[in-house]
Point group: C2
DNA sequence: ACCTGAACACCGTTCAAGT
DNA sequence: ACCTGAACACCGTTCAAGT
């Protein structure tokens, strides 16, 4: 017995339609393109017609984060904990690449929605299976998720730079700025072959931390 | 021979005055309170008067990031590398707490401005002194700065939650959501005593990673 | 060069009114 | 309950005009 409005559209479907539209607009034009008016127009309705579904723009953005988080597929619970953590990290990174405008919003929404809690729980489970003491599980989860989110947002947000050449040449000529350590490093090492490969190396290092915290011997060193 | 406008104000001072004003507004009302019109009004000028100094709002926000980054004090180069990295991390975290509205902007600006490069160079130097192989220095720098920025932004942005009680009680009752691992953990461990203490533990773990990558024996395990 | 004032094409949200 | 249309108080930016 789903509720229906005059047009015969189930209200839950309408809500999802609004979020799908908002996500499409965000993917195409960035978060600043997501206006109540633009979303409404694409849905084929007035901006005010969104308010029965979302209290305001903030609520719509909350919904957008949930919509994106729901896309994240959890790893197979039967897999080894290392694989589960790696799969989850890669899935999160790919998600950020798919929805670069929405990813940064995760920094300002607490992970207390059902969509977020199921992810946290999967990480908790992997850490417990790894042998991490229970008084360290929450900390390690935050450390891991902070790094993964931070790395992915740095990539899509542009913090890591565009990897176009020429930036280094300029550095040498910056007036009155001495970059001692930069000059000791080969220039081509500033950017990695592949951001995914670097992500893998970082994950390997963090998994080693987890093994250490768990009291088990670290199995793999990082390396490139 | 500094250039002066009709009012007798040096143009460089005018630029700084605009940025100081923008920062004050951001600190008080968040980033969305920083409008060309609001900044101009506080400076005592029309919005259009900002355009000779900044090409547009994006350029003003770039300047704001530089203004904040310039506040970060570099560690004593004579100190041991571990202390230098820790001091830098804590200084960055405090900076984010002082200017919570500006910190997230760092994710979308590449670290290629002089203000940013001097920070990166200080980290490079510490990592080289630690014995990190040169082909790993840039990667480790990104891993470290990504974590530090991500942690600080998570704190001030609200991702880590408000640490008010009650959220956990709700979790148990979320309809149709089974949080297996959550139920195995004592509820009071969800949030740490102090976010700063957790930050310290995380840093200790990351410093241990650096020691491992450097080939030196890890000196300190994490612990709480 | 620096600044103004008017104008344009937008915003989010409230409110009274319709069905 | 859901939606409309007008209105209010904002935006960033362009443009012609002033000094």
């Amino acid at each position: 017995m789903t509720e229906r409005n005059r047009g015969g559209v189930a209200v839950a479907d309408r809500r999802r339609e609004i979020l799908d539209t908002a996500l499409a607009i965000a993917d195409e034009g960035g978060i600043e393109a997501v206006s109540m008016r633009a979303v409404a127009q694409r849905v084929g309705v007035t901006a005010m017609a969104l308010y029965p579904h979302f209290r305001g723009k903030e609520a719509l953005l909350d919904g957008l984060v949930g919509r994106v988080l729901a896309e994240l597929t959890l790893p197979d619970p039967a897999a080894p904990w290392r694989d589960r953590l790696r799969d989850l990290a890669h899935a999160a990174r790919r998600l950020a690449h798919r929805h670069p405008a929405v990813a940064p919003l995760l920094f300002s929404r607490p992970a207390v929605t059902p969509d977020a809690l199921r992810v946290v729980d999967a990480i908790y489970q992997a850490l417990l299976d790894a042998g991490v003491p229970s008084d360290q599980v929450a900390r390690i989860e935050r450390m891991l998720s902070t790094f993964v989110l931070g790395y992915a947002v740095s990539e899509v947000g542009g913090r890591f730079g565009t990897a176009t050449m020429g930036t280094r040449e300029k550095r040498g000529q910056l007036p009155g700025l001495v970059l001692q350590a930069h000059n000791e490093l080969p220039p081509w090492l500033d950017a990695p072959w592949s951001w995914e490969a670097e992500f893998d190396s970082d994950l390997a290092d963090l998994v080693a931390v987890i093994s250490t915290v768990a009291g088990a011997p670290s199995t793999g060193k990082a390396g490139r």
